[in-house]
């Protein structure tokens, strides 16, 4: 039934963008067979995108990195919203051009084009629509993992000239916009990890007092940093064991790697620290070339900071 309807409502992908995928809250309890969690990188912006359109907060959205897609819409009118720090334009069929503002809901009509030009000094942005994308679930999630080729769109990122079908249920919507500015952060806060004491005293000091730079070798799997080399004085290989999002591994070259949403499920490099959950959204938005400084907190502080992060997110959503 959906398929018949869908032929009338779709996005034509005129330009796919750099790394444009469908993401949701990710797939759980599959690490033991080697399947990563995946899911939206910046959880707050993902949830706000769905909240602004009064959708279930865990609905799938389009995630883009740096340059986003150029989409042409065909069908009955829908609403869209874009979240993140994003520069975009909407071209109407009547040649009118709108400079888009994130967190504002726009009505999109037949033949309108949405051109996501770039994220501003950040990495990820999100597009949600008032209706539903027609997608396949794999293990309970629509999230695309391009390395394992798992998820909707056959596990591939969006490509030029493909279609994105939409199930149009003619939902009613009262428009609410949000004024929100993505704040920057001075420090990324961490907890000491299991192998912290594998590192020399000098390296421990470097870790907490010196700056690290985000390198270009950063993607949905992980973020590689460079800075003063961290010296392991015990053992640079451990028996492979489970990894989690936010863990900072240090291979024998002494440069830290932070595991992100699509990370391999196990690994054998020593772990110096873990990013606290409250700072994940800010971390993933740091572009190559950004400077990171780490600050140590206790487990109790990390839990409190997460409660605060959650409260802040809930307040934003409740405003809508």
């Amino acid at each position: 039934m959906n398929m018949i309807k869908s032929k009338n409502n779709y996005f034509e992908v005129e330009r796919a963008g750099i790394n444009t995928t469908f993401q949701d809250d990710g797939r759980k309890n599959l690490n033991h067979i080697g399947i990563p969690v995946s899911g939206a990188m910046d959880k707050r912006n993902y949830k706000i995108a769905n909240a602004l359109l009064k959708k279930n907060l865990n609905s799938p959205v389009i995630e883009f990195a740096y340059q986003g897609p150029l989409l042409k819409y065909q069908g009955e009118e829908i609403f869209i919203v874009i979240t993140g720090d994003v520069k975009f334009q909407i071209f109407r069929e009547n040649k009118k051009q709108i400079n888009g503002e994130p967190y504002h809901v726009y009505l999109i009509q037949n033949n309108d084009q949405i051109d996501i030009q770039s994220t501003n000094k950040s990495v990820y942005g999100y597009i949600s629509i008032s209706e539903d994308f027609i997608l396949d679930k794999t293990w309970g999630s629509y999230s695309i993992n391009t390395k394992a080729k798992i998820g909707s769109n056959n596990g591939e990122k969006l490509s030029n000239n493909q279609k994105i079908d939409i199930d149009h249920k003619k939902k009613k919507l009262t428009i609410t916009n949000l004024n929100y500015v993505n704040s920057k952060i001075e420090y990324i806060r961490v907890l000491k990890s299991i192998n912290f004491d594998f590192f020399s005293e000098k390296s421990k000091n470097i870790f907490f007092n010196k700056e690290f730079k985000v390198t270009k070798l950063s993607d949905r799997m992980g973020m590689r940093l460079e800075g003063q080399v961290l010296e392991n004085v015990v053992n640079s290989n451990i028996k492979s064991e489970g990894l989690v999002k936010g863990v900072i591994q240090v291979p024998s070259d002494g440069n830290p790697i932070i595991m992100l949403s699509d990370h391999g499920t196990i690994g054998g490099y020593p772990k110096i620290a873990n990013i606290i959950s409250a700072d994940f959204d800010k971390l993933v938005q740091m572009m190559p070339g950004s400077i990171i400084k780490f600050k140590q907190v206790s487990l109790e502080e990390a839990e409190k900071l997460f409660k605060f992060y959650k409260l802040e997110t809930d307040n934003l959503i409740n405003q809508i």
Partner: protein
């Protein structure tokens, strides 16, 4: 059985079962894994067993480290609910086009290739864990005579189905993937099938694997 329980970041629990890697310690890990999994505890988002560790991730919106730690400490380990272990036969073809590290292994181990294969096929292997890439089994223990280090420079692409050796372990590349293990053959079987959403992995922790040597003809037949 668990030697130490620590926090790994603010949203996971790190259970250390001891320094060594052996069947007994790994069976304990798997036993905890199965019992925890069967309890379906609210807020737990992943349970990841490895050789001698078990990592339990949770949703900080629902629970926290001390609550999950308590559950693990008080966990009653029931034997009868344990996963039914299987003996799985995996056919391998050792034609030259599949044995990428034929010469390297002969050189490092100082054993003729025929003898390397004879030693390799004479054992059964225990599955300690799966992961790194989807469904990749980590099997052991490889005979002391066949212990070789990883490649100095890992391959950018290891073909799907390749059987790799490193130190006391062997593995099977379920997909084409980067990798640095010594490749001694290739299996025509699909070790991981993402279309089988219920049981995608053919080999699971606790299973035993028996390798069987096959000819190129037999390989081609199975592959069809």
């Amino acid at each position: 059985m668990i030697k130490n329980i620590l926090n790994l970041g603010d949203a996971s629990v790190y259970c250390d079962f001891g320094k060594d890697v052996n069947k007994e310690i790994n069976s304990n890990v798997i036993s905890y894994f199965n019992n925890l999994k069967n309890k379906k505890i609210e807020g737990i988002t992943n349970i990841t067993p490895s050789y001698n560790k078990l990592i339990i991730s949770f949703d900080l919106n629902v629970t926290n480290f001390f609550q999950v730690k308590k559950i693990i400490e008080n966990l009653e380990i029931k034997k009868e609910n344990e996963y039914k272990k299987k003996l799985i036969e995996i056919p391998i073809c050792n034609q030259k086009n599949f044995t990428l590290d034929h010469n390297r292994l002969e050189k490092i181990l100082k054993i003729k290739y025929d003898k390397i294969l004879e030693i390799f096929f004479s054992k059964e292997y225990f599955c300690y864990m799966t992961g790194f890439i989807a469904g990749m089994p980590f099997l052991g223990d490889v005979s002391e005579k066949l212990r070789a280090k990883r490649l100095e420079t890992p391959r950018v692409k290891v073909p799907k189905g390749s059987i790799g050796l490193t130190e006391q372990f062997c593995n099977i590349y379920t997909y084409e993937s980067p990798g640095g293990w010594n490749i001694i053959g290739n299996t025509p079987l699909d070790i991981f099938n993402k279309n089988n959403q219920k049981n995608p992995a053919l080999i699971n922790p606790g299973d035993t694997v028996k390798f069987k040597q096959i000819s190129q003809d037999e390989y081609d037949k199975i592959k069809k």
